[in-house]
Symmetry: C2
Amino acid sequence: MKYIDENSITTAVLQRLESCKNPRLKEILGTLVIHLHDFAREVKLTESEWMAGIEFLTATGQMCDDKRQEFILLSDTLGLSMLTVAMNNAKPEGVTESTVFGPFHVAGAPHVALGADISAGAAGEPLFVTAKVLTPDGKPVAGADVDVWQADEEGLYDVQRPDLAHHQARAVLRTDAQGNLNFKTVLPVAYPVPTDGPVGKMLVATGRHPWRPAHIHFMVVAPGFERLITHVFRDGDPYMDSDVVFGVRSSLIRQFEQHAPGLAPDGSQQSVPFHTLNFDFVLQPV
Amino acid sequence: MKYIDENSITTAVLQRLESCKNPRLKEILGTLVIHLHDFAREVKLTESEWMAGIEFLTATGQMCDDKRQEFILLSDTLGLSMLTVAMNNAKPEGVTESTVFGPFHVAGAPHVALGADISAGAAGEPLFVTAKVLTPDGKPVAGADVDVWQADEEGLYDVQRPDLAHHQARAVLRTDAQGNLNFKTVLPVAYPVPTDGPVGKMLVATGRHPWRPAHIHFMVVAPGFERLITHVFRDGDPYMDSDVVFGVRSSLIRQFEQHAPGLAPDGSQQSVPFHTLNFDFVLQPV
């Protein structure tokens, strides 16, 4: 232990972890130490750069509260979140892929009937969504609970509007006997992740924009199937190839078709242009 | 960008960093991303483990305030601080080695005359220190400012005692024309790093103790020489081979000799046992 230098110290730390009785913790921490030390040696980290890193991580932790999770945002913007999601949710060909959960899900969103207008007053161009929940061999999944959440035309989720007394553009629906799902909402738009914290500074310093392409979040839960957490992305979005959190997967991109004012899929007459989206979710049996 | 999986995402993140105009930041962040992603893939990090990591880092940041730096403590206990110090302060054979700075230095400690009792009331067995500050070829360095700080017999630094109105066991002395330094203080003892935060939980979870072997901190500044930040460790300490922050270097260990009551090096009569320490600092010319 005593003959410490910048190379021997890695072995010294790993030897110290030999006392760990939890083999998984030992594996994770040991691998972390090897990579942390290799990183510092490879870039020849200076003492002032080390201190800048300490200060960045400290500020990131101090930005967090019950409404803001800056460390998740850091993980998202460095691709670690999407890597973890992809690695833990590999799906066979034909099954709907997962993407990042994001910070805006709310447990206990209102359950609404099929066909409902879930916008609940959120501003935006009308969007009519139809979807099916299916097994890999195309059979309908009845009684699947589908949690939906999205931003409004200003790029804000309801939880980002502290004055709102009720949920907007957020609901849980249950598929019917044919696995069908339909609801009305507003057209999602691209929005920036919060940039008023350390992650925003990192994005500026690296010349990166903070935008996510327009999408709707879905979480689909049905007995006998793996839980699916995903988005549907709106094709044509200018940020599709540069999502700041690396959440886009080509299989999740769909046309949101624009229509002139007139008869909508729900039989109503729309006086403004409206959009339609159709998407099938294919669940993986457990 | 769209065909993201747990392998392709690393290239996607690195491509995004191509926009960074600061080549050093790009190098550091790019290397960090490679190691962060490799770490997650190698251990096959689960989503709940990822979340546990997010929560640990968040709690670490939130433990920090103007008196406590839990991220530095984390860096210290994972060996990153000592690695960085060793890498950036390599010394030729014969020059005094560096070790970690630690969190307890105070800028602007009182300047005292040679021979002073710097304990200023700190509790502990008397210790008489004599030292020389030398060039690599053994010539004295006159007028070197030597910052000294250490814990008392309870293992506490003065800054850890909020009720103290003045500094204890902390001072700045200047070497005389022969490069000599001498002062009276108290015998340092081993002490634990703070364990009431996330780092303390990590140490418990990994079966590690929180102790540092007894030492005195020194910072030596002299025109024409590299600044030296180091400790002198007390030989025989039971934690010498397991310093929780990996700061021990064999070249920095010295005998603190114990003496029976009687005549002390400063000519005083000591009625209790006392200790003496002699140590030469050898500075590297700039």
